[in-house]
Symmetry: D3
Subunit: 132 residues, 6 copies
């Protein structure tokens, strides 16, 4: 199995509902360093999983709809906590939609899966892995 990973980041405000979150129930924020991994069983004729430049552009496009805002005000997240785990799934699912729409090229239809990791600090991160 082959994979390619590209990294970018978002800077957001949000708050959580639920006693388990303690002080994070108050409005606070985070920089999430975002790693998007694309997996594929065999390489294409160019010798790649996906073009790293193109993968970087697609990730940037997905993150543009999340960064520099208060996620508590985003209709897409109404009624749910925008935890690191939930945001991993959101980014992975939106990347999957772009793959299916051809955003990473025709060859990307051979991709086996996507994993997205969000680093919320130097001591904590979360991941979501899905097939395509």
């Amino acid at each position: 199995m082959f994979s390619v990973t590209v990294r970018d980041h978002i800077m957001i405000a949000h708050s959580f509902r639920g006693e388990v979150f303690g002080p994070a129930q108050k409005l606070h924020g985070a920089t999430f360093v975002v790693d998007a991994t694309f997996r594929r069983t065999e390489l294409d004729d160019d010798g790649i999983v996906v073009d790293i430049g193109r993968a970087t552009d697609e990730l940037k496009a997905v993150l543009a709809d999340l960064t520099y805002r208060n996620l508590d005000d985003e209709p897409a997240f109404a009624g749910q906590n925008t935890t690191t785990e939930v945001l991993c799934r959101t980014v992975a699912d939106r990347l999957a939609d772009r793959v299916h729409a051809g955003g990473l090229g025709a060859g990307a239809r051979e991709l086996a899966g996507i994993t997205v990791t969000l680093h919320e600090s130097h001591i904590a991160w979360a991941s979501y892995e899905r097939s395509l």
Copy 2:
């Protein structure tokens, strides 16, 4: 599959028995930067795998029994080498015991597995992965 990882560290002395270890047969030491990963198929109602604060506390509790000591003197390791790999398993198994005892909350009983990685330097690390 979702996962959450938290990081902490220990600083220990130890020595190894066996010619394969060369100079590490002498008493020396290590800082192990410890990453504990908790895996789960679906998120709980709060949108999390485990609470990151609680996971951090449980990891700290497990590491408190290992750090700032000479592992050659610890009865728990009598007769075996405290290699990076062995310590990964020790930390993972002790975290699993705490999960089963309810230390990460009732929801943590849905956890699928734990992976523990110990970084012994900027150029070498080991991992142990187990189910729950």
Copy 3:
């Protein structure tokens, strides 16, 4: 010259006033990984600049007044942008106050200066350096 550095982090929401900030004029947030460096010309009798454990505790105490909140609502920052640079100075000045108040022990009065670095992402950080 000797120095000791300890690392911790904060997670805050804020917004900026000024066209130069572009999309960061909207409410957003950041994880700041915070490095506090203590400088000293000569070591004390124990062979240290400051005790790393004590430095870690003092930094944590300073950061407790900043983390998990919306800095736009903090009276201490009324009328100014809480840029990465401004927050570096805030953390450094508050650490200096604690040094002067004896929080790092009598020996810490020999400290020559403090530098605070805040990493706002994997590709951007700021620092403020001051004497004591």
Copy 4:
């Protein structure tokens, strides 16, 4: 499952054929930070997956045939792009050959698999995973 990872690097020149590569079609270069991971179901009698020193030596030997050269001139890569993904496979396959030849000791025949990751920058990396 246990694993051990060791890190080294190579510094090479190369160029790519194919429009998808854009400016990388011109002769350029890369530092690849190389992580080689060895996996094993159970530890050996010494409590290890492989000796970290020996794994480091074998990785260095494999990389010695790749570093400080223009990969466009290497017969081993004639007719194919030396993408990050292709180089991951090359390093993994050559390590596998060394394992089979006994380079990591008799015990290494119990290894289950190898994963090789090449980091081409702070924002992009690729991996190849194979069984043994």
Copy 5:
């Protein structure tokens, strides 16, 4: 003293003349992760050293003239080795020219100096520091 640092990278081919360079006399290559630090005694009215977005854009513009090429063919480097140290100075001097030309805004004329660090691997880097 305040500073702001932004990070980007280049991927180049080159070779060195001089016995001291050993195998690096052959055509090889490097990824240089580039950190550009801007220093200033006092913050401007917005509370910044320079806008991080603008600094990132200026660094990217300087690096666009260096990346994805064989530096042995660049007239700007004729007759000199493009060592990590020389490239640090090149990037710093070109950034200084842009500051003087107003590329970072009128306020940037208050900058005290620039430091550029190029990381050539996980175990080696170089820096050049100059005043403005």
Copy 6:
């Protein structure tokens, strides 16, 4: 001012005397990731501060006398705590001796100074800076 930095590491056991050290008074250990920085006002005729390969070799030679041992048993440290700060000075002074003895070549006599940083974990490090 130019500088070049190379990285290596040591793995040692030791204990501290003095109440300020708390649990670190017991025999424990550390991995120290060691960064040695060489500073110079102007580059030599080859365009370098020092050859990175040669600097790496000299650092390795200095660290060979420290790694894989219990520093409590080393006569060189009798009567003093081998704190991170003290070890920074030891490594810097021994590198300076080697520079003066010609170990980095005749050109290295133009070096202005050395800084040594020891990282004891992902959240704490110390430095010592001296002239040559």
